[in-house]
Amino acid sequence: MKMLNIHKDTFKHGVHPPEYKEETNHLPIRQFDFAPVLIIPMAQHIGSPSEIVVREGQEVERGQLLAKSTGYVSVPIHAPAAGIIRKIANVPTISGKMSPGIFLEVFPFSGQEVAEGMPLDLETASADEILKGIQDAGIVGLGGAAFPTHVKLKVPDDKNCEVLLINGIECEPYLTTDHRVMLEQTEDVIHGIKYLMKATGAPKAIIGIEANKMDAAEHLERFIPEDLPIEVKVVPVKYPQGAEKMLITSIMGVEVPSGGLPIDVGAVVVNVATAAEIGRLLPHGWGIQERVVTITGPGVKNKGNYLIPMGTPLRYVLDQVGISDNISEVYMGGPMMGMAVSNLDISIVKGTSGIIVFNDEDVVSRNEEHPCIKCGACVEACPLSLNPSRMGLMAKFKAYDRMAEEQNLLDCFECGSCSFVCPSHIPLVQYFRLSKSIVRKRKSAKQHA
């Protein structure tokens, strides 16, 4: 057996939150039942929402196109189940905004078979055809960002992709979806990487995995054929290593320039579950219909990793897994960057990597805020070497432009490490989110003036 490549290097700073992964990381992925009605929002990805191509009353097959992409930064949406379109209306989303959506009443006998599309053969397809195939399959970053994958894979003419980084870090506490995907969908992952290497022209691929998933690393290492230039690299456990910039620094030892993209240092980063979907769907020309979601947290009775059809209402999901009587908050995504759910009528979408349920006693947001005592914990935590303490103070005094000019505010990718360590419970990252959006608005106002 090949020796595992265990890496000591990692990015600067960062934090070590408790992992809470042991409750679900050994549980195999289980298929979720179809909800009686799936509610499918059109705004599931970053970019312009999809445009509905079906009408009320129409019967659809599983895998049939429901909505087409509306431009380059957009992807289509496919029917997650066979059924009938009951209603087309605005539906709530996690962001609080309403989005046009489709109410799909699932046929009681809807099975798992999928309507075949246009298969894309790895050997004969060109790079552009693969990119088109990825877009047509409705694939977005499944790590949580939901950015259309084909856009990210498009290497500009003046740049070269030297390495394809496959992100199997999953540094958010609680989440174990990527872990299970690496263990159970190994062949899909490797097949997906082949497509991705062809699409980007990368001569080699590296799968980055944190040291708390050694079983997945060993399993992948066993599966990778000797003649493929795919490497597995194990890195020390640290949050937020799953962030693109941090992963690049940990594995390649270089920094992505401020304001730049991974391709500026010759890298393209793709989440491992996204790679698996590509490997599974493209050979059949299928569209994405379901995804793996970790459902966990102190408030959940049957914790686990579930394969859930897109559009499954959160209310139905929680009913199925069972929740405790005193639940207080529900998050979509991980506990460090995930968003709190205000409405159980929202649905599982392409970007939903986890659902975490907290009881009253687990909620920390009601901790009282104290003044900053300049302890420097946030400075020691920030993976970008920003000064959150000073920026927090500047935000209080509304010095937003100075934050951007002097303190590199716009580099902040909101990992939340500063808020996590702050002993005074100052919601630093929330200040920075607001400050960033104010600075961006002012900038665009200036451009239009």
Binding site: I327, I373, G376, N387, S424
Partner: protein, 338 residues
């Protein structure tokens, strides 16, 4: 079951354990051994001085919060720390009314006028101490001998002096090791210094217990060890160099290390998070700056002790140090101009 109203909050949804209050509480714990030892060496008067200092700080904090209509913050332990630190910088027979003045100034001028906890530029206890030194130069340099036989049975009359009256000292004033060095060129043995068998301010005497308290905080990551190490190293290096150059004229580094308020300053005052820099480079320069100033003031200055001024000047410098020595931000090639 699912009709319950959900709360929403912004991420992150988990936090690390330490809270500001827990940190402050631990600083108090870390100070207690040295404070108790000062009561053992100086008796009742030490207890009265420490008690008055803490009480006056708490009362001032409470009163100023009430008057300005803010939330009362006496329970965050920061005023207790200021009181203890102030008390520990004072001589054992210091008149109590002057102690109370110091507490009032420490909180009022040192902390409150800047906007309260976290916004103060200077260490509040040292601000109180500095004003007392300027206002009562005689009282603050009048020392009683350690371990006197009647220390638990009688209180020096100066302690209970009436406000605005000149205190009468009924005890022989023993010189501190530093003033003995400065004015009489007498060097106290280092062992006595380290374990506190000497005259001096309350918290100056047992360097060993203060260091132990400081180490406790550093292990629990509630005080930055880099500051203490940087100060002590620069003191050792500079005074060591001078001592090697002329051992007659300049005392040994050990004497410099364990005399006066250096340990208290290096472990508890310079490490006060509010007044010290946040960045690693800033912290090291800040510590070195304080250490060098301590040696310079002690050897060439007009005062026997320089820790207080060294730290106050360090406090004044620290925001700028953070700006000047700003770490390179990820993905930027050089430091941004500011």
């Amino acid at each position: 079951m699912l009709n319950k109203t959900l709360h929403i909050s912004t991420s992150p949804h988990i936090v690390k354990g330490n809270s500001t209050q827990v940190i402050m509480k631990n600083v108090v714990y870390a100070l207690i051994p040295a404070a108790l030892f000062s009561v053992f060496t100086f008796g009742l008067s030490a207890l009265l001085v420490l008690g008055t200092a803490v009480a006056s700080c708490l009362i001032t904090e409470y009163a100023l919060c009430k008057v300005s209509g803010r939330k009362v913050t006496t329970s965050d332990y920061s005023a207790v720390i200021t009181g203890l630190l102030l008390g520990m910088t004072l001589p054992p027979a210091f008149p109590l009314w002057m102690v109370a003045c110091g507490g009032f100034i420490a909180i009022g001028l040192g902390k409150f006028v800047f906007g309260g906890l976290g916004y103060n530029v200077f260490n509040p206890a040292l601000v109180g101490r500095a004003v007392l030194q300027a206002a009562f130069p005689v009282a603050i340099t009048t020392w009683t001998d350690a371990l006197s036989a009647d220390r638990f049975t009688s209180i020096p009359s100066s302690v209970l002096a009436l406000p605005f009256m000149e205190p009468v000292y009924d005890i022989t004033s023993g010189a501190t090791p530093l003033s003995a060095f400065k004015f009489d060129h007498h060097i106290t043995p280092s062992f006595d210094l380290a374990f506190g068998m000497i005259g001096g301010s309350l918290g100056e005497t047992s360097s060993f217990l203060i260091l132990a308290g400081g180490v406790y905080l550093m292990i629990r990551k509630m005080a930055n060890w880099k500051i203490t190490v940087s100060i002590l190293t620069s003191v050792i290096v500079l005074s060591g160099a001078l001592h090697l150059f002329n051992a007659e004229l300049y005392p040994s580094p050990l004497f410099m290390l364990f005399s006066g308020g250096l340990m208290l300053g290096a472990c508890f005052m310079a490490t006060d998070m509010v007044g010290s820099p946040l960045t690693t480079k800033g912290i090291i320069v800040y510590g070195a700056f304080i250490g060098i100033l301590v040696v310079v003031i002690r050897i060439w200055g007009g005062l026997p002790e320089g820790v207080m001024y060294a730290i106050l000047l360090g406090n004044a410098l620290s925001p700028q140090l953070d700006q000047w020595l700003k770490p390179r931000v990820y993905g930027t090639s050089k430091k941004k101009k500011s």
